[in-house]
């Protein structure tokens, strides 16, 4: 019963927040904080008590660390099926943590309609947790689409319009919604085609993950269906030709929105690839792997170069996410356990570091009321703590040893090298670009001649705690990633077996 509660807590908490507004500002925020702490607490408790050796793997009957199933729409073979393995658990912990942070970082920023704001925030998080737990394809799609609406509201109602006034927050929100909605419908068609293909073979109409894993598909059909899933995930990840919603959405979103978007919404796509696209369509994925890796490579460089060219600090961080997601894509399709483990670490580390950078951008915005780096400069001298912390997270983002990002990228590159040495070699040089855009951000914003003389207020205790906490976590992840690796070892081993077997078959066939 604990799994449905993980989803319900944010939803109920959100409703209470909405109504709690009449009692004032603090109760609303406290309710939100409390519900996310509950989610985080529950997931940590599960981490210590659960057995995460159990994870889906090819051939075997599906075993999960925790499972919940109840009948929902039997007419269509849809059940309310939730399950958790190590991968889901880590993602939910990340969601809980970033949920707390997004409540905290909006403490000062959001002053209008806070009840409705927290309703939306909580519902996004609830939807994301649902995505991480759903083991019924209908249910997965249900949550996948559901989290869009509150995110839309978050950007459209509490966002900032761009400094030149050309791109409004409503434009950004609508673009985000249409991109993800349209690609989602393509995935829905693919899901249904998969279900019908399975129905033709077995005579059972079901949306259940473990039954569909056994579906026998003709190679062409498998490839087309895989593409249907891939497009939906590619938009969300984002992969380069489909990424253009991301910088707009990030730049215009309020800080909490950016934190959620970069920290966890993007991870749902990587999770979807690992959980659904690869295991359901291993042969097609193996065939598609070189294309996916090339797309990842393009993403790394495209993201890095565009990031370098930005003047808006949040757009810079947003494009850097595109670049980092390129590494994740390469790692996912490399087909080695090492690379997949690297992907997990990279997902966590990027979640933490991108969240921290967006929080810092938000704090900067609250003080300067601009995101334009041309209007910054010289802040190092004018403000305590914040510039130094920014430097730390910029260093984390470029993959400095000692941070989790380094472990992630290193494992990905190491694991990919055997499968695709050239791609690895080129991707490695992308790290150089990462240092260029990270450092140019620090240089433009914090160094150089100051624009004004008066000192700016330093971060208060709340702001400092958030960012320092993230810094500590990133360092822990960087120096002792073993517990995390152990947790996901079984899950990643399963994924590796699916893709690895298909890849070796492909090699044999050639």
């Amino acid at each position: 019963m604990i799994l449905p509660w993980l989803i319900l807590i944010p939803f109920i908490g959100g409703l209470i927040c909405w109504r709690a507004e009449r009692f004032g500002e603090a109760p609303t925020r406290l309710v939100a904080l409390l519900s996310m702490s509950l989610v985080l607490g529950l997931s940590i408790w599960l981490w210590f008590t659960g057995d995460f050796q159990l994870a889906p793997a090819p051939g075997a009957d599906q075993a999960w660390a925790l499972e919940f199933r109840s009948s929902w729409i039997p007419r269509l073979g849809i059940s309310f099926h939730l399950a958790m393995d190590g991968l889901s658990l880590l993602m939910i912990m990340l969601t809980g943590l970033l949920g707390i942070l997004s409540v905290l970082c909006s403490w000062g920023e959001i002053q209008m309609r806070i009840g409705f704001f927290h309703l939306n925030l909580m519902w996004i998080l609830g939807g994301v947790i649902g995505v991480f737990l759903a083991m019924d394809l209908f249910l997965f799609f249900f949550f996948w689409e559901m989290m869009l609406v509150p995110m839309f509201f978050l950007i459209a109602l509490w966002g900032h319009s761009s400094s030149d006034g050309k791109k409004t927050r409503i434009y950004a929100a609508t673009k985000f919604f249409i991109y993800t909605q349209a690609s989602g419908l393509i995935m829905l068609v693919a899901i249904l085609a998969l279900v019908f293909a399975n129905y033709h073979n077995t005579g059972v109409f079901t949306f259940d993950y473990s039954s569909l894993l056994k579906a026998k598909l003709a190679p062409e059909l498998e490839y087309v269906l895989m593409l249907g899933f891939f497009i939906a995930f590619a938009v969300k990840l984002p992969i380069v030709p489909l990424h253009s919603w991301l910088p707009d959405a990030h730049a215009q979103a309020p800080t909490a929105g950016s934190v959620d978007l970069a920290g966890i919404l993007l991870k749902t796509a990587a999770y979807g690839l690992l959980r659904f696209a690869l295991p359901l369509f291993p042969n097609a994925s193996a065939e598609f792997a070189p294309i996916a890796m090339t797309l990842g490579l393009i993403g790394i460089f495209y993201g890095a170069i565009l990031s370098f060219a930005q003047t808006d600090i949040k757009r810079l961080v947003a494009y850097s996410s595109v670049s980092h997601m390129g590494f994740i894509l390469i790692g996912i399709y490399a087909g080695s356990q090492l690379a997949l483990q690297g992907v997990v670490i990279q997902m966590l580390a990027h979640g933490l570091s991108a969240a921290a950078l967006f929080i810092l951008c938000g704090q900067l915005y609250e003080r300067l009321h601009t995101r334009d780096m041309r209007e910054m400069g010289g802040i190092w001298a004018r403000m305590p703590y914040l510039p130094a912390l920014s430097l730390f997270f910029a260093a984390a983002s470029l993959g400095l040893p000692g941070t989790g990002n380094f472990i992630g990228e290193f494992l990905i590159l190491l694991g990919t090298f055997q499968a695709a040495p050239w791609i690895t070699a080129i991707a490695t040089s992308g790290l150089v670009f990462a240092s260029v855009y990270s450092l140019i951000m620090i240089h433009r914003a914090y160094f150089g001649p100051p624009r004004a003389e008066h000192a700016l207020a330093g971060p208060d205790a709340r702001e400092l705690t958030m960012v320092l906490g993230l810094a500590v976590l990133i360092i822990i992840l960087g120096v002792y990633p073993q517990p995390v690796l152990d947790t996901t070892a079984a899950s990643m081993h399963g994924v590796q077996q699916w893709l690895g077997a298909a890849l070796s078959q492909l090699v044999m066939a050639r």
């Binding site: 949550f143 609406v149 929100a173 249409i178 349209a182």
Partner: protein, 483 residues
């Protein structure tokens, strides 16, 4: 033909609705009272709804050669009656402050509902025509009810002329079909078309012309030109009736006709319908993009929605009948909700309805629950999870995949993506900064009035169907043509 109590039972919903209409007429002649008329109509409709239980026990049963009461007819009768009931309730809220005679609107609505009941249960071309005319002719009066308003009068005349043209096409088509097959029953026509080995131009022409006639009523592209003007001009509850009860009945008869007879006529009809579907989805959604009037926007969106429905009609096998039932139900619920909000915003009567989008600016900060209802309806129309519309859209896509109609599905996905844009525009408007000069607003106690309570119930149903659709699906699984 022997007429037993079973036949009487099967016809009970229709009989009750018709006698309610007579009763309301007499009551108006005796004493003009808005409240009495309203209560009589509501009681009659509820009774008719209840009488579906004995009617369904008698089903399937043919009453004369015109009418066949089966579970399919029963479901659509229920849908028509519920929609009419909702429209009557909305009309009550709307007519409170109406300066002219208020009572006849209910009479017209009841008559039209009776037409709908005939239409959904007919198995004969004569029944089809009678039902369709009984359904549409009272609507002329309803559309032009606020005749002192220029737009309304224009809408009324436009609807009358174009509807008459549609009926003429339909009648001519029937005549051609009869000339060819020498039968007026759906099954007879189907048999004759199936047995004719040679391609018969006359029959095809007849079917084509009938399709044009029905497409007029369903406002499919390119026969949609009346829709936005009429939707805008008609009083809000009447527009609600037009999109819900009237369209459902016509679509139900189209489905029955298509399934029972010319479905065997070969691929050309499916091709023709595909063209109509693609055109309706694209044109409806694209034209909706530029609207700044909520009623017009919903009008164009309804064109697109019936384009989606055509996809299921074309598929016509597997779960298609069921999918159409689900989609029509969810569509009716969501559009009744949307027009309900417009109705409540437009009362008490101030000349024009509250249909300009800017009048809804910042509604959330004044009327949070009313806005929540409208938001839910917009999301439902867009097909977002947690709302009924999602289940409907899901079903249509399921049927499309099952029948492997990839091109139509592609259009559907594209159309939905376009549609999201204008639904979101409406939603964003609701939540924007407050507008200072107010011309229209809902009454303060809207939630305690009949219209408001009904609206909240509709919102509840929309949410419930989106979260737990199983009861509806189970109900529909058991309803089929002929049983």
């Amino acid at each position: 033909m022997e007429f037993t109590s079973q036949h009487f039972n099967a016809l009970l919903p229709l009989l009750i609705t018709s006698s309610t209409a007579i009763l309301v007429m007499l009551a108006i002649a005796w004493k003009r009272s808005h409240t009495i008329t309203f209560f009589l109509s509501v009681a009659g409709l509820n009774l008719a709804l209840l009488s579906l239980i004995p009617a369904m026990q008698a089903a399937p049963l043919s009453v004369t050669s015109l009418i066949h009461v089966d579970s399919f007819a029963g479901f659509y009768m229920a849908l028509t009656l519920v929609a009419t009931l909702a429209c009557v309730t909305l009309a009550h809220a709307y007519m409170e402050g109406f300066p002219g005679n208020r009572e006849e609107l209910y009479l017209l609505m009841l008559l039209s509902a009776a037409g709908g009941l005939v239409l959904v249960s007919t198995q004969h071309l004569a029944g089809l025509f009678i039902g369709l005319e009984l359904l549409s002719v009272p609507v002329y009066g309803m559309v032009a009810y606020a005749f002192f308003n220029k737009h309304t009068l224009e809408a009324g005349i436009k609807y009358m002329v174009l509807s008459a043209v549609g009926s003429a096409f339909l009648l001519f088509g029937m005549a051609l079909l009869y000339a060819d097959s020498a039968s007026l029953t759906f099954a007879g026509i189907g048999a004759s078309l199936a047995s004719a080995t040679a391609q018969n131009t006359l029959a095809h022409l007849g079917i084509g012309m009938m399709l044009i006639g029905l497409a007029f009523k369903l406002s499919l592209v390119p026969f949609h030109l009346w829709t936005p003007d009429v939707y805008q001009g008609a009083p809000a509850p009447v527009t609600a009736f037009l999109v819900s009860a009237s369209k459902v009945a016509v679509f139900a008869v189209l489905l029955r006709l298509y399934q029972m007879s010319p479905a065997t006529a070969g691929g050309w009809l499916a091709d023709l319908l595909s063209v109509l579907a693609v055109a309706s989805i694209l044109v409806g959604n694209l034209l909706a993009l530029t609207q700044s009037n909520l009623k017009r926007l919903l009008g164009y969106s309804s064109i697109a929605h019936f384009g989606y429905l055509l996809v299921a009609l074309i598929a016509s096998k597997g779960m298609a009948t069921e999918a159409i039932g689900v989609y029509l139900t969810t569509y009716i619920v969501s559009s009744l909700g949307a027009f309900g909000v417009i109705t409540l915003m437009s009362t008490p009567y101030h000349g024009r309805d509250a249909d300009a989008l800017f009048e809804y600016r910042g509604l959330f900060w004044r009327r949070p629950y009313l806005t929540a209802v409208l938001t839910l309806m917009m999301l439902s129309l867009a097909g977002i999870p947690l709302t009924a519309g999602f289940i409907g859209k899901f079903y249509i896509i399921t049927v499309g995949v099952q029948a492997q109609l990839w091109w139509l599905l592609g259009t559907l996905v594209l159309g939905s993506a376009i549609a999201v844009f204008y639904y979101l525009r409406v939603i964003v408007t609701l939540f924007m900064q407050e507008h200072t000069s107010l011309t229209h607003d809902a009454q303060h106690d809207w939630g305690q009035r009949a219209g408001g309570i009904m609206l909240l119930a509709i919102a509840g149903i929309t949410f419930l169907l989106g979260v737990y659709p199983q009861p509806l699906l189970q109900l529909l699984q058991g309803t089929g043509l002929g049983n």
